[in-house]
């Protein structure tokens, strides 16, 4: 008995030493570099408008083949790998599907299940630096990696509880926490956690609670471009750029007149809802392109045009997009989901919606030939169609 009593402190000391050696988390809030920040002005009264038709020099579409095993409810993420289009529908069909660039169906990338190459809960899908597809399973806390044609490569533990992630340069991974942490976690109230390839912390970035129980920094989608990952948090009109060098403010968006964010700080969620209902605001839709950045703006007065904004990197000028009613193909330019290549925005339209525009195509002038291959064999329950809009520089 005495011997056992003597051993307890030594066992305790060994446990402590082991715990300190097993990679303790060192969370440090990164300083934001403001030296490379572009100011982007969206002024609906005094800004520069251009017709949407004039903004694009080429428009084409890809019809995703409809297959019983490849039905898409609503695409949430679309990835363009070398020879495959990967479409992830996180909420309706809960599926990750592969298509060729001509739209023909290849198959399912991964399926639901509890096996080592299956996911229980599809949270996010991303392309890594080698062109492989990574699938985040939030419930099992795993990241599964496949080739773009669906061959399983590996599975690893996701080091934090995240709802999205994107790859930056030098194997750096940016995790979006969505602020869904249990209290007491080292990342509580942190929006972004940046890790190196070995899953050690590089830095974290985010803001703190405005008041207890009310998070005002719920982060929005991440966008990966050119070795950096771009992210934004609610009620903040700043787009941040994260990579292996740290975090910098890429764009400061100034919306005039009457920006909802100008009324900061807000008291509660109800006040936010009212402000968003009554005032102009950045709606979180952002896409970085080679020569441009795209910003989605929402305004209070729906009779006015929705001044989605294109910011030209070279000239530093902002252009608000006016709806065009001549080219029927412009009717599918709604809330671009992603980019293709350097300067091409991609929108998704349901087959239903496309069929409803048939009359517009038929009555359009001879300048806009009727695209029979868009409608041929198209049914209301066919898979959605991808529309590609290449920006004219």
């Amino acid at each position: 008995m005495k011997r056992l009593l003597f051993r307890i402190p030594s066992i305790f000391a060994i446990c402590l030493a082991a715990a300190s050696c097993t990679g303790r988390l060192t969370v440090s809030q990164a300083d934001v570099d403001w030296s490379r920040t572009d100011t982007v002005i969206c002024d609906s009264d005094d800004g520069m408008y251009i017709e949407r038709e004039a903004a694009f020099d080429s428009i084409w579409f890809v019809r995703l083949e409809t297959d019983d095993k490849g039905l898409i409810g609503r695409p949430d993420v679309i990835l363009f790998a070398d020879s495959t289009i990967v479409v992830a529908d996180m909420n309706i069909s809960k599926n990750v599907l592969m298509f060729k660039y001509d739209g023909s169906f290849i198959g399912q990338l991964a399926q639901m299940g509890n096996g080592h190459n299956e996911f229980l809960y599809l949270s996010y899908v991303s392309l890594d630096g080698n062109g492989n597809v990574s699938v985040l399973d939030e419930v099992r806390g795993k990241i599964l990696t496949f080739t773009e044609r669906g061959q399983f490569l590996n599975e690893r533990d996701c080091p934090i509880y995240a709802n999205a992630f994107e790859y930056a340069d030098n194997d750096v991974i940016v995790f979006d926490t969505g602020l869904r942490y249990h209290k007491g976690s080292p990342y509580d109230n942190i929006s972004f956690v940046v890790k190196d390839g070995m899953m050690n912390d590089s830095y974290v970035f985010g803001l703190t609670d405005f008041e207890e129980g009310f998070n005002y920094t719920r982060s929005r989608n991440l966008y990966s471009y050119g070795g950096s990952v771009y992210g934004n948090v609610n009620f903040d009109d700043i787009i941040y750029r994260m990579d292996s060098h740290g975090v910098s403010a890429a764009y400061r968006l100034i919306i005039r007149p009457d920006n909802a964010s100008d009324y900061f700080p807000f008291k509660d969620k109800e006040e936010i809802k009212n402000l968003y209902r009554k005032h102009t605001h950045f709606n979180g839709s952002f896409i970085e392109l080679g020569d441009y950045s795209y910003f989605g703006i929402s305004i209070k007065d729906y009779e006015k045009q929705m001044p989605d904004l294109l910011y030209n990197h070279r000239t530093g000028q902002s252009h608000m997009l006016l709806n065009s009613f001549n080219d029927p193909m412009m009717s599918f330019f709604v809330s671009p989901l992603t980019r293709f290549g350097d300067n091409c925005l991609v929108c998704v339209s349901s087959a239903n919606n496309v069929l409803n525009t048939r009359g517009t195509f038929e009555t359009a002038g001879s300048e806009y030939p009727f695209p029979s291959n868009l409608f041929e064999g198209l049914e209301a329950d066919s898979n959605p169609i991808l529309f590609f809009y290449r920006l004219a520089y």
């Binding site: 039905l71 409810g73 609503r74 909420n91 349901s350 209301a380």
Partner: protein
């Protein structure tokens, strides 16, 4: 000493038996209470909603389909139909539970009412994708409808109701995935009420 140990053991066993019986009694009482509350709720909804909402036009315009068959069906709307009302704006786990539970009841518990998945979705392909994932063999009727005018629409949750022969909504019920027992009770009431009504 031995006698004391034996007596203590007997007392403990008897006490444990009494406690377990008591716990069972409380559990049953709670369940009965719940069933009563449920029947009460169902009854009230029936009173409030019957005759208020004519859904026939909407349904006929939306076009009904089945999974996996793709041909349009002319559903017999003069007979009662169990509707599972879902939306792409509902929490996806709640939609999965509501649809799965309904399919399960139909397959395993002998629910005879034909079922309709009435979705507020952007396209029929979205609704079909959902039905295919949850059960490719379900043979549910599928229909699209943006807003059916029921006050419960504003709560953004999946719900069931019976669309009776007069095309009015009744027996409205919100399935809660944390209260499976309650959902099963709802279906057993439907079974008793509508299976019998059908036979009549």
């Amino acid at each position: 000493m031995k006698r004391i140990i034996r007596n203590t053991a007997i007392v403990l066993v008897v006490a444990a038996l009494i406690c377990s019986q008591f716990a069972l009694l409380i559990g049953n009482a709670k369940l009965n209470m719940r069933n009563l509350q449920l029947q009460d709720t169902v009854g009230k909804q029936q009173m409030n909603d019957a005759g208020l909402y004519q859904l026939l036009d909407n349904l006929q315009n939306s076009g009904l389909e089945t999974v996996p068959a793709t041909e349009k069906l002319s559903a017999d709307l003069t007979k009662p139909l169990l509707v599972c009302r879902i939306s792409e704006y509902n929490c996806s786990e709640c939609v999965d539970f509501a649809v799965r539970k309904m399919i399960e009841e139909r397959k395993n518990e002998g629910l005879e009412l034909p079922v309709l998945l009435l979705g507020n979705y952007s396209s029929m392909s979205a609704l079909k994708a959902l039905a295919w994932r949850l059960d490719p063999e379900s043979e549910c009727l599928l229909g699209l409808e943006q807003d059916n005018g029921l006050p419960i629409e504003g709560h953004n949750v999946p719900y069931y109701y019976v669309l009776n022969g007069n095309c009015t909504a009744q027996d409205v019920f919100v399935p809660d995935r944390m209260e499976k027992e309650l959902v099963e009770t709802y279906f057993s009431i439907l079974n008793r009420k509508w299976n019998a009504a059908d036979k009549d």
